[in-house]
Symmetry: C2
DNA sequence: ATATTTGCAAATTCTTTGCAACTTA
DNA sequence: TAAGTTGCAAAGAATTTGCAAATAT
């Protein structure tokens, strides 16, 4: 947590942003969680901790963290964005169960390599990608 | 066009839905386009043709077409859904330019095969997938 | 000090829904 | 004519924004 806070603090300083109490609390919460969460989830967790931070600030801070590259947003097709921190996480993709909604992370180097090849062949330089496999997990067959 | 209309008509009949004028016009427009379009785009094209069909009907018909499997929705991360018909189109994925917004379709069998393997290894049966490569096209470097 | 940030409430944007009038089969 | 469909306007849901008061550096 200390490390993450420092990393964000550095980013803030470099950009002339301020490390407010609200941002500190949000950061402490975001980087402790190793799950996907929505803006609303984050709002609720903070309230449970006794911190009532406005939705506006939650949204503003999340987009700031996304710009910093320390957090990424994911669209699982549920009408709202999910977030997840990527500090110390390698990039990964997602398997999403259409039955129970379970999300399983995976990574596969061959897949990434192949993607790079495809993009190159079309004259694109990849900056990011999103691969979502929708289907049914064993329990939901 | 005739073929597509028939296919949709058959789907409608099977489900006790009716082929209304509005649906016919929408279908005629959707299956003529070979591009990605939003609900709003569709609304505008129809108005240009002199057909003023309500947004509500546009949305209802698009979701009906998605359920039928004849149209698919795509999320290019622009805050609204894009649609595209898949009749006579093979499945494909998308390269999206972060510079100019250009969308290039591609398909790669090896990629799909590999995805299947990954899913299987995790006990998932894939029902669909979405792969989006975000980056910069040659012109936007 | 002063520029940034916050919270609030209002505004936006995309999409969905209730309902009475109207079509289609 | 019965059931499904339409348009309208209102409702929803998620997110963004304007602004005055508060806060960090």
């Amino acid at each position: 947590m200390e490390k993450e806070l420092d990393t964000v603090a550095k980013y803030l300083k470099e950009h002339d942003f301020k490390l407010t109490n609200q941002r500190r609390k949000i950061i402490e919460t975001v980087f402790v969680s190793h799950d996907h969460f929505t803006a609303d989830d984050l709002y609720d967790v903070l309230r449970e901790k006794g911190e009532s931070i406005s939705k506006a600030t939650i949204y503003r801070t999340l987009s700031l963290l996304c710009e910093s590259g320390l957090v990424e947003s994911r669209d699982f097709g549920r009408g709202q964005l999910y977030y997840e921190h990527v500090l110390g996480h390698d990039h990964h993709d997602h398997l999403i169960c259409n039955g129970c909604g379970k999300v399983v992370e995976f990574k596969n180097a061959d897949l990434e390599k192949l993607q790079g090849k495809v993009a190159k062949a079309r004259g694109f330089r990849i900056e990011s990608h999103s691969l979502r496999l929708f289907g049914r997990c064993k329990a939901c067959r």
